[in-house]
Amino acid sequence: MRSRWQRFKDSYMLHSFLNDRVALTCFIILAVLMFSAFAAPIIAPHDPYNSSTIDIMDAQAPPSWSHDGDSEFLLGTDAQGRDMLSTMLYGMRVSIIIGIGAVCLQAFLGIVVGLLSGYVKRLDNVLMRIADVQLSFSTYMVAIFIGAIVQTAFGVAGYEKVAVPLIIVIIGLAEWPQYARTVRASVLAERKKEYVEAARVIGLSKTRIMWRHILPNTLSPVLVISTVQVANAIMSEAALSFLGLGMPVTKPSLGSLITAGFEYIFSGSWWITIFPGILLVTLILVINLLGDWVRDFLNPKLYKG
């Protein structure tokens, strides 16, 4: 008779996590990054969204430690005179929101489709063919298509307002088949097990068996791909921004910051691109390393190559 918390404290999961230096370090870095991203309005020294506080005269100030740096701007400023550090924190927040949002949408669509096609034989063929078709379009094609329509419909100013949900929808729609396939494969394996037959003998309805009995048993692979998918979604958003289809410069994500700074890299203002770049790489790396740990933990039979 132990409480959930005690169970967790004694669990092998926590033990294995605390003994894995890489996982622990990554977790700490990720926690710090997440915290500073979401606490950006409080901890950031400037507000990059408030144009009245931005002075174009400060533009392209180098980091504070270089000889003509300004101590007010720790990591320098960008081409519009915004403080790099603050802009990056706000940008990281946008990137993370998009990454998590897109993955939630992907996971929702993918789990529903995967469950249905794994458990309802009649739907299987249709749903999996739709997934194949969806996978054969690349994310960028979907993005160019939808982005172009929305930009003409709302105009550039309106686009700024809907950009975040729009990109979430684009990346979510483009990559749900990953989830659908993973979930379907585990549903097919689970539905043969006797506990499902036992549930049917009790008389439970199909829907209830699907959601309450089969779904919880398919969640470990979903968890494994989710971490990697968050990283992928953040990368996709960065790539879309680089192509000019992502977040506008006025409300930048890490990706659009990199893009914006790219023009100035040859004029010597390397910091505008490099700092957001390092931050993006760090973020992706720690998420992926944590994802590896989750995968290894949930699937110990896997050979660690």
Binding site: M1, R2, N125, K193, E194, Y195, E197, A198, A199, R200, V201, I202, G203, L204, S205, H213, P216, N217
Partner: protein, 335 residues
Amino acid sequence: MTAILEIRDVDKHFDISGSFIDQLRISHGKLNRKKTVVKAVNNITLDVQAGETLAVVGESGCGKSTLARTVMRLYRPNKGEILYKGERIDNLSSAKMRPYRTRMQMVFQDPYASLNPRMTVRQILEEPVRFHNPGLSRAEVHDKVAEVMTQVGVDPAWATNYPHEFSGGQRQRISIARALVVDPEFIAADEPIAALDVSIQAQILNLLMDAQEERGLTYLFISHDLSVVEHISNRVAVMYLGCVCELATAKELFSNPKHPYTQALLSAIPKLGGEAGNHIRLSGDVPTPINLPTGCVFHGRCPHADERCMREIPMQRTLDNGTIVACHGVEEGRI
């Protein structure tokens, strides 16, 4: 004695030919569509009497589990009728079937697969009670579960644990408890002790027999272990390739087997003090249920087979001692 369950001429065939494309075959220069069908259960007629234990024995793959699952309506029969206390249940919708779900329950073979690994024992046992008695209060459900757990010999204090924290024998007890919480009259037990250690098997068997005595249960007990069957059952049905070849009381069957297959099966049990060398050796392999032999399904391996056996399917006949046999040789008096 009245029949609690009647199985009438039931067939269960599985179509394993896959999608439409997979079914296409080219033969003799022509494209035609061919279905592959596993004939797991063929023309089975059986009655289970109230209060008895009817054992179903037979070698692996002869369709025992399929029969039990068809009775429990996990599969719909392709042909025939299944009656529970005189009411047809094989064609009911799932909603109409619901009242029968509390009267008929099933215990599965594999105690590791038959309990949902993501649910605690309490959740596993409370779910059927709540589902069938939505009016019960929390405390009543709790008491009901605790009572049944005590009956099967699992301490109710362990209810908050997950199945993986229990041993195989305890899991099978929990699995039996899940069947018992809805107070059934009839339980189909599909090899409930086959996956357990020999030392645990006797305990589980005793538990099943005690529960039968206390609750007046009827069992359809599936097994391939003849000594267990002799110990626990009142009557025994012997299956071969999806057909029932002999149905007799346990005493008659073990002392005086009629069907050539039963005789071969029983001669394989080592007996204390029995003379050596009377083991009936069967030649050949069990045919696949995909291409069933014509006539008697056993004719390829039967030492008494003749031309009629290859041609004509033997009908079930009741002998003077009450044994039911499907065999031309017995009918003609040559065995």
